[in-house]
Point group: C2
Chain length 337, copies 2
Amino acid sequence: MKLATLKNGTRDGKLVVVSKDLTRCHPADDIAPTLQAALDDWAASAPRLEALYAKVEQQRIECQPFNQAEAHSPLPRAYQWADGSAYINHVELVRKARDAKVPESFYSDPLMYQGGSDGFLAPREDIPLGDPSWGCDMEGEVACITDDVPMGVSPAEAADHIKLLMLVNDVSLRGLIPGELAKGFGFFQSKPASAFSPVAVTPDELGDAWQDCLIHLPLIVDFNGEPFGRAQVGQDATFNLADLVAHAAKTRKLAAGTIIGSGTISNEGGDGGPGKPVSEGGAGYSCIAEIRTIEMIYDGEASTPFMQAGNRVRVTMEDAQGNSIFGVIDQTVVKAG
Amino acid sequence: MKLATLKNGTRDGKLVVVSKDLTRCHPADDIAPTLQAALDDWAASAPRLEALYAKVEQQRIECQPFNQAEAHSPLPRAYQWADGSAYINHVELVRKARDAKVPESFYSDPLMYQGGSDGFLAPREDIPLGDPSWGCDMEGEVACITDDVPMGVSPAEAADHIKLLMLVNDVSLRGLIPGELAKGFGFFQSKPASAFSPVAVTPDELGDAWQDCLIHLPLIVDFNGEPFGRAQVGQDATFNLADLVAHAAKTRKLAAGTIIGSGTISNEGGDGGPGKPVSEGGAGYSCIAEIRTIEMIYDGEASTPFMQAGNRVRVTMEDAQGNSIFGVIDQTVVKAG
């Protein structure tokens, strides 16, 4: 099934069931007022939501048009957002640019940071940028939402706790990252609010494209109207989403509504070198930092600037028939204040 | 006023107003069902809660007994928990033990990490420990809860957004910290669920002890029934709570219900050296890592072990008359699983 949260003037919005083709929706108020409420009692609410979805799909119930621009991120605020970095190619590239080696442990022990979850941007909401020197970047990713996950689950057990999938634009302030990481406490000011896709879907919606807790489809990232990234999400992932959920749950349980992200989707080049831009027939990049890194490796300096006011980023994913699965994240950077 | 959240079988519990002496309480359901709901509309709910508190204090309304053991952490789960490290003495000590210098920037740019907030331990709940080698430690701290904080506020503006104060036991797994910090993404597995005091209070409850956004009283930390820490919270703080809120809000707004912590309370020794244990007339320590550091400096090795199953930690704070202000955090470590 497909779920979304419509803006209704409240902090958590209103839960709706969305048709597979994203054209129609029906309120799910009588089942759960919000997506968090549904997740808080998922075992009871999921079958009822699935039944409503069947009615919507079979046109057995009157629907309203679904307008993606009226959608919040599926969880407008969440109790947990933890983002992994499963595509080590991304880490290798960024480190290669500064001649640093990737520690061996990174291939067996996932990188993950605790992100801010008190308020996400809506999928069509402007990205407020205080200072252009902060180096605003997009990061195209996928993420899952879990139900309650016990402490110490194995990856196989964790897989059963993946209830919904979304796309993410994990906004990053690259100019602030080196200073923050040097302090040793991880990201904070360098990770402002992220945005999620208008629609969250159950894994079965992906059909055969959902294998081994990975989505086997390309992530479509466009920048200022041009194709920028078409990286295969199912390729070059050192860890799948279940591995990341199990990592997060090693020393503590995770509460229902926990969002776990994949990190920036990143493919290796076919020839052993770094991936090529889309314009040169490559899979491109899911963030600006990667193309800058490649420019530094080849040209000695980065020529693509980070995002400025007026720049626009679009993140989506299509099924084999070219239909949007999650709806479209489409955001423009604006000067804040 | 004083507020608490009673366990009622739901994830967010039930909001009650508590008498100043912590003996009585009255449900605040008719004003807001939960503390988060009250914070979501604080401008409207706070005056009504204050009016109820006045009735409770003046015994103009029938109350039920308040039992701290029935209380959740005031926010059983929160949308944000960010913990600073305002007491640089703590950082200096930990670094001195490994001959590392504190960077100059630490005295002007606060350290802060994004903590997990999807589920806190109740103030009297056991601390589940999966593996004793993880090096379980307590950290006695204070924290504030904010309403909605705009992006880019100054410390002076941030002060007005501090609505409630609490005590914290920020549980830390010291054995996992070096490995996680070496990975560069900050704390994750090394910071399992924390616990907060049974009662949250508005700053005015502290009277003259609330000055410059600091609490000028000692934090009482007992370990296995013995006095362990009596550090003055108002002393040796490089940053106050408003500085920390402003730091958190530099690149993004903070949503109502954001919890910002002070970091481990830590006082310098009077003679320029490290502080002495309580048993030797000193202010002691608010975590085991500090006494271990001092043992390493003086004896070449740490002799106080980290917490094991059966160990007990108690964190509280008393006014000038010896009355508990926030109630008592009282937790025992248990083997998990």
